[in-house]
């Protein structure tokens, strides 16, 4: 099923999009509907329901699909609804199967074979930057997202957000209708009103027209904006995204003298210093950095692995892998950056002596001139970015590990601050908000909602009828990126054409389409806009079609990358103050739902936060020391006050968090999200101050209330067992077999059974997980969830210990609580050859396959749960209730048709993505060959940015997995139980600096 594998690779969607198709004409429909208003709407609908397209519209939640998806085939091949009822009946004795319908196409799209998935290349943007994707489509339903291996920002991997974005497509809470002051309206009506508005504006040269959007790199959109600028010279474009720190861009601009992007090449870096940079997890190039870091960190090929110093307040994903971590206040980082700069021979306006370790780090950097890199934190002020660049220059890293790339963002944009001022000063009459949700996400100090109401007409394009839409005059449903045409650029300029995989399910519109109205071409749809732009950009060259096809097929446009430009270190400005004295409150987007964009996404809500492993909430993270002083523990409510305003959130004691510093997370405490995201957690924006947006001084009190936090890993110490085994680089060189060195050999097994050897002659599937490079980003968890139709169970059930993730990433701490060692350990099913779970199943619902898979047969399971009790790794998950959502029809679309949707009362667990194994085997068999190494990728393996997971056939001596299991670093989890797990681990090797030994807790303890 891998794109390069068997299923015909990629093809463009055009044939599907452009072919004549009888589907519900939503326009007509909406006109009909718009006669009825508000409450009467439904009644009108029912009355009107005799007309055919109305019937369809009412019957199926998503009219867009009606022409394309033959329902019957769905029922059979994608919904798996019957699984429930049949399972109930046992599917065994005396069950008469209910009659099912099967519905063929009227006109079958060419190049579509029902039952064979297709892959389309597109891209998703985060903070404006693109990440190339390949999206799996079953009968024109996107079901699974994979990274595009050829795309520089993806390299085949993705983050949790790309994975989970599929679920957003089918989110039943997305807004379906154009609303005018809360009343049902239509796109037609809106186009009319908005065009007239546009004409008036045009007369005033666009005086009073304000566009607010997130960061944009889309060439088409930029083109639209420039033509807007010509037609409406007086209009202004404001850019705001709470997950993006403008300082990064502005610093780069200062360095390069123009819009620029500072990019790092970690494949050459022997030493990395992170100034509170979560470079492997956040930012447009994160996945690339993660991949490079992982490759450079490999220890088995004899190279010196890279060494990472992390200077940060709250432990970050990247920081958890650091060889040395220095917990300092976020606001102290600039000062330390300057100290470091000074120590590296940069003229930095700083006084006072640096802590000892700064000099040690500096020496290490000096030792590795040209082979090191200092990465400034994405939330740090300009000064840090300038300092970092200065240090890199001083160390001769520019051109080696650091390069300045031409910027791809526009530079004629303004900030949210300016917008608020313009609104308050009455300069803005018409405000068009594209996507962003400032009423919720703007710092409270701006009081954006009050300001916004000063505008005469506010148009909001948004996927949800959320906080901002509620205060807007017009709300237009926004199309998901998998529903519409657009384009976007990666950090290095690579352009991807975003193609839709499905008609807008809820009739959403794209930013392009809203813009066309302003630009006076209201009838253009985004396909025309985008294709049109590219045609004229290619000067309608005859080869355009081939260009277009290739672009769509590959998922990126050849040689569209930007060049490197020269940057000059800027004299470092004096720091206004040396960090915040007293308690510092650090503001961060939530690790799994960001600024709130994903708060209605169940997968991400239930995805454990990388550090704490808690779900469904945002917490106030404090250091162990602080907790001790305040006498609070997990779940004690804390009141956080920042100049006058305060919020109340539950304590989370985060080992390794800087003292006198607490971290609060955005994205929660929402009203305008949906059934999933509303009314959970606190709203950190409420105490955010525009002047000190990411770190402010504040105070902390214990309220005395208690709060129940749902976290999926209660105990985070190894309790004397050694699930994770590690060694210093030196020790590793001495004893490469350190993980198993002190293991007693198993006693000779004395069994009544004669020593049975099951021959695994054919394929012998196995997996290796390299703990040395796992950064604990949890992408595998969400990828697995998407691939295997894993249900979301909700906070209460998680708190009861009933989460359903097939693969989990265990977090262990060792050493000193204030700055512990941190380990990530992904745990899928071990597929033990002597599986304890199988022996105790009374109905043979879990037995071994000839390829050594520990099979779980849902439809045979009666649910004794003995297998789970007897599983030493506790990787089995049980459907205590009917967790899979059988009712919300829109969610059916997100399901993977190749995996049974489990019903109530059955056990489930990781299957090594057996559906992928079977597909690959079948297609191999058809060509009468064996499956090639790498042909099968498990979901977790495919998504992993650091390639920590390897899967394959152990009988194939040349397979990557077979080789990796030959490594001396290999060890089996709980090997002493003689379960003979097929999943094996590679020990963790720490490349710490002699001079700083013990700086980070004493591992020996």
């Amino acid at each position: 099923m891998h794109p390069n594998g068997t299923n015909g690779g990629l093809i463009s969607l055009e044939s599907l999009v452009e072919k004549p198709r009888k589907s519900v004409n939503i326009e007509e429909l909406r006109k009909k509907l718009s006669e009825g208003r508000g409450p009467q709407f439904w009644r009108t609908l029912e009355e009107a329901a005799e007309s055919d397209e109305l019937k369809e519209y009412v019957e199926q939640e998503f009219p867009g699909l009606s022409g394309q998806i033959p329902q019957g085939v769905d029922r059979r091949s994608l919904l798996k609804v019957m699984a429930a009822s049949l399972a109930m009946a046992g599917a065994a004795a005396c069950t008469k199967q209910p009659k099912e319908q099967i519905v063929p196409y009227v006109r079958q799209p060419e190049n579509l074979i029902p039952g064979v998935p297709l892959f389309y290349a597109t891209a998703m943007t985060t903070g404006g930057y693109a990440r190339g994707l390949l999206v799996e489509s079953h009968l024109n339903r996107p079901t699974k997202v994979e990274g595009n291996p050829d795309h520089p920002a993806s390299l085949g991997a993705t983050t949790i957000f790309e994975q989970a974005s599929v679920l957003n497509v089918y989110d039943p809470d997305r807004s379906e209708n154009v609303l005018n002051e809360g009343r049902l309206s239509t796109w037609g009506e809106f186009t009319g009103k908005f065009s007239t508005e546009a004409q008036e504006l045009a007369m005033r040269k666009g005086e009073g027209l304000a566009i607010l959007s997130g960061p944009m790199t889309s060439p088409t959109f930029l083109d639209q904006m420039s033509s807007l600028a010509t037609q409406f010279p007086a209009s202004k474009w404001y850019v705001f995204d709470p997950t993006v720190n403008p300082a990064v861009a502005s610093a780069a601009k200062k360095i390069a003298g123009r819009n620029a992007f500072i990019s790092y090449d970690l494949s050459k870096a022997d030493v990395i210093v992170s100034l509170e940079a979560d470079f492997m997890h956040v930012g447009p190039a994160a996945l690339k950095y993660a991949r490079q870091f992982a490759r450079k960190r490999a220890v088995d090929n004899g190279q010196t692995p890279t060494r990472l110093y992390a200077i940060e307040s709250a432990p970050s994903v990247s920081g958890s892998l650091a060889d040395h971590r220095f917990p300092v206040k976020s606001s102290a980082v600039p000062g330390l950056a300057y100290q470091l700069a000074k120590a590296c021979g940069v003229n930095a306006p700083t006084s006072g002596s640096a802590p000892e370790w700064v000099n040690v780090v500096a020496q290490d950097l000096q030792k590795n001139k040209g082979k090191c890199v200092v990465i400034p934190g994405e939330w740090q002020p300009e000064s840090v970015h300038l300092a970092a660049y200065a240090i890199n220059t001083a160390l001769g890293n520019i051109g080696q590990t650091v390069s300045v790339l031409e910027g791809v963002e526009p530079d004629n944009t303004h900030s949210l601050n300016e917008l608020v001022n313009d609104l308050n000063s009455g300069h803005v009459e018409t405000l068009v908000i594209l996507g962003q949700n400032p009423v919720y996400t703007a710092p409270a100090s701006m009081n954006f909602q009050q300001a916004m109401r000063k505008a005469r007409m506010v148009v909001r394009l948004g996927q949800f009828f959320d906080e901002t839409s509620r205060w807007s005059h017009w709300h237009v449903p926004e199309a998901h990126y998998l529903e519409t045409w657009s384009d976007a650029r990666a950090f290095d300029g690579t352009i991807t054409i975003q193609q839709p995989l499905i008609e807008p399910i809820y009739g959403g519109k794209s930013a392009h389409e809203v813009m066309t109205i302003l630009l006076g071409k209201p009838d253009q749809n985004s396909h025309e806009v985008v294709k049109g732009y590219w045609q004229q950009r290619q000067q309608n060259s005859p080869t355009f079609d081939t260009f277009w096809q290739t672009a769509l097929h590959d998922g990126w446009i050849a040689n569209s990358t930007v060049g490197t430009i020269k940057g000059n270190p800027v004299a470092l400005p004096a720091l206004e103050q040396q960090g915040i004295s007293g308690l510092e409150v650090v503001f961060r987007p939530d690790p799994t739902i960001l600024d709130g964009t994903y708060s209605n996404n169940g997968w991400l809500q239930e995805c454990p936060k990388p550090q704490s492993k808690m779900t469904w909430d945002n917490v106030v993270a404090i250091s162990a020391k602080a907790a001790g002083q305040l006498k609070v523990d997990k779940g004690d409510m804390l009141r956080v006050t920042v100049n006058g305003k305060s919020i109340v959130g539950p304590t989370w004691v985060l080992p390794g968090h800087a003292e006198d510093s607490i971290t609060v997370y955005f994205g929660y405490g929402r009203e305008g999200s949906g059934r999933v995201g509303n009314k959970i957690g606190y709203n950190a924006y409420a105490i955010q101050d525009a002047s000190t947006p990411y770190a402010a001084s504040g105070s902390l009190q214990k309220t005395g209330e208690q709060y129940r936090i749902a976290n999926i890993q209660e105990t985070q110490t190894m309790a004397g067992r050694e699930p994770v085994r590690e060694a210093e680089l030196a020790d590793f060189r001495e004893h490469p077999d350190f993980p198993t060195r002190f293991e007693k050999p198993l006693p000779p097994s004395e069994s009544l059974y004669k020593d049975v050897k099951w021959p695994y002659n054919g394929y012998k599937w196995g997996m290796t997980i390299d703990l040395n490079v796992c950064i604990g980003c949890h992408a595998c968890i969400i990828a697995c969830q998407a691939e295997n139709n894993i249900a979301v169970v909700g906070k209460d059930q998680v708190a009861r210990g009933r989460h359903m993730h097939w693969i989990r990433v265990d977090r262990y701490y060792s050493g000193d609580l204030d700055n512990p060692e941190m380990y990530n350990q992904p745990i899928p099913c071990m597929q033990c050859e002597n599986a304890p779970c199988e022996v105790v199943c009374p109905v043979a619902a879990t037995v071994h396959s000839n390829e050594g898979l520990n099979q779980m047969v849902y439809n045979r399971c009666v649910g004794t749960r003995y297998c789970s009790n007897n599983c030493p790794y506790k990787v089995r998950r049980f459907n205590f209730y009917l967790y899979s959502d059988w009712n919300t029809e829109s969610l059916y679309g997100a399901r993977n048709p190749d995996v049974t949707v489990r019903s109530r009362g059955v056990m489930e667990k990781c299957s090594y993505c057996v559906q992928r194994i079977q597909e690959a085997k079948i297609s191999a068999e058809k060509e009468t060959r064996t499956v090639r190494d790498g042909e099968i990728k498990t979901a977790c393996q495919q998504v992993c940015p650091t390639e920590a997971i390897v899967f394959g056939d152990l009988n194939d001596k040349n397979s990557k997995v077979a080789k990796s299991q030959q490594l001396p670093r290999k060890y089996g989890l709980l090997d002493d139980l003689n379960t003979r797990p097929r999943t094996q681990y590679l020990g963790y090797v720490r490349n710490s600096n002699e001079a700083l030994r013990g700086q980070r807790g004493n591992r020996e303890a």
């Binding site: 009933r802 109905v843 043979a844 399971c861 009362g905």
Partner: protein, 471 residues
């Protein structure tokens, strides 16, 4: 002496004391009337305590129905079980009930083989107790399934899937053990009843009663040859039931011992599970029979002798159980296995430590009072002790099931188990169900084996004769 009218003897009949299993002066006829009379007593004359008790337990039966309804409609999630603690109250109660069942078979089979005359007037009662306890126990393995409506998959039957049960699983052994145990106990109980049913047939005042008992007694007429075969069959059943009763709890203990979970994977389980079963069984016998003999004024039939012997047996089995605990603790230290030793340390000092403390108190410390003769002679004391032991044995199962599971191998997957109101409801429900059946039983069938008491009368007559001759 025979009762003139259908009433319980008005005056309080004294207990003949710890040396006699029957008050003097009983004749074949008097025992028939005294025991049969209880059953033939019209409802209006039934002791008020019986009415109240039956009614209360009936309320709990309905509670059980409610719990089952919610369970089947909503799912197993209404209970406190989770991952890692996949088994909770359901299995705790299952083992507890099965254990209680053991006393019946023990008394009727093993004591029969050992020719313990004091078993006579309590064996019928405790056999009934066995049946009802097994009925309660048998419920749980089905209720605790994720898909209880598929429970029949655990039986080997030819199906269109060509699939069969997986007989390496101790749960599959359970299926056979428990169903066999239930069946054999029923057979044993019924065979014992037949002659008494004949008696009931012949002393019943109403024609319909006579007919009913006649049918149930299969037309038993006490032929000498019938008696001969009857006794042979009974002896053989006793011989079969004895290893059965041992095997059943052994197999139940395998549910744990076969697994690899520290705290479960223990070779000592079978013997001390069996001992524990008998321990709790006798506790339950006493808990029930002490009030019953008072209400029905049967101190002359169920005497201090019975209670004293039962108490001694509890003391004995209790000591075996104590030995079991200490061995467990010893091995967890001696084996030097880090998981084992942690498990035991956690069992004693972990979050569930208090249950362990209570368990030791109820099962080992307090019952030592039974060494004292005075305590054994004090009805109330014995009764309270029996209650305590019942609680203790339930705690033992809770400790074994929960504290072993909640912290096993990987710290990352440790968890806690908090029983929900539905857990408690179901448990209380089965208690009600059990008691309700007992109440019905003493109403409808002779709760004491009449013909065996006749044998006692016969023997005592002999002894008196021999004494006379000796003089």
């Amino acid at each position: 002496m025979a009762t003139e009218k259908l009433e319980l003897p008005a005056e309080l009949i004294p207990d003949p004391g710890p040396n006699r299993i029957l008050s003097p002066g009983h004749t074949y006829e008097s025992v028939s009337d005294r025991i049969g009379g209880v059953v033939l007593l019209p409802l209006t004359k039934a002791p008020k305590k019986w009415l109240v008790g039956a009614f209360i337990s009936f309320i709990f039966v309905n509670l059980l129905m409610l719990c089952m309804y919610v369970l089947f409609t909503k799912g197993i999630g209404i209970w406190g079980v989770n991952i890692p603690i996949g088994w909770g109250f359901a299995i705790v109660n299952f083992v507890w009930w099965i254990g209680i069942g053991h006393a019946g078979t023990l008394i009727s089979a093993i004591l029969f083989l050992l020719k313990q005359d004091w078993r006579t007037s309590i064996n019928r009662f405790s056999e009934a107790m066995t049946l009802f306890a097994v009925a309660c126990a048998g419920m749980f393995p089905i209720l605790h399934l994720g898909r209880p409506w598929l429970a029949y998959w655990l039986f080997p039957y030819p199906n269109s899937m060509w699939l069969w049960p997986q007989p390496r699983s101790p749960l599959e052994w359970d299926v056979f053990a428990v169903s066999t145990y239930g069946t054999v106990s029923l057979v044993f109980w019924y065979i014992g009843l037949v002659p008494d049913l004949a008696t009931m047939r012949d002393i019943s005042p109403h024609m319909w009663q006579r007919k009913l008992y006649a049918i149930l007694s299969l037309g038993w007429r006490g032929s000498a040859i019938h008696w001969h075969r009857y006794q042979k069959a009974y002896l053989l059943l006793a011989g079969l039931a004895t290893p059965l009763v041992l095997s059943v709890h052994t197999i139940v203990s395998f549910d744990f011992a076969i697994s690899i979970i520290p705290g479960w994977h223990t070779t000592i389980f079978p013997p001390y599970f069996v001992a524990g079963a008998i321990y709790s069984g006798f506790a339950m016998v006493l808990t029930l029979i002490i009030p019953m003999r008072a209400w029905y004024n049967m101190r002359d039939l169920v005497t201090m002798r019975h209670i004293d012997s039962a108490a001694k047996l509890m003391l004995g089995t209790g000591l075996i159980v104590a030995y079991g605990y200490s061995m467990e603790a010893f091995f967890s230290w001696y084996a030097g296995d880090k998981y084992e030793s942690f498990m035991y340390w956690n069992r004693m000092t972990g979050p569930y430590g208090f249950t362990y403390a209570m368990l030791i108190a109820c099962n080992i410390a307090i019952p030592q009072l039974l060494w004292i003769r005075k305590v054994r002679q004090n009805i109330l004391a014995v009764w309270i002790l029996s209650l305590i032991i019942n609680v203790g044995m339930w705690l033992e199962r809770f400790v074994i099931v929960v504290t072993s599971l909640h912290r096993d191998f990987l710290p990352s997957s440790w968890g806690m188990y908090i029983p929900t109101k539905w857990d408690w409801g179901t448990y209380a429900g089965t208690l009600g169900f059990f008691l309700f059946l007992m109440f019905l039983f003493v109403r409808m069938l002779p709760a004491i084996s009449i013909f065996e008491v006749r044998e006692v009368v016969h023997h005592e007559a002999h002894e008196r004769q021999e004494l006379a001759e000796a003089r």
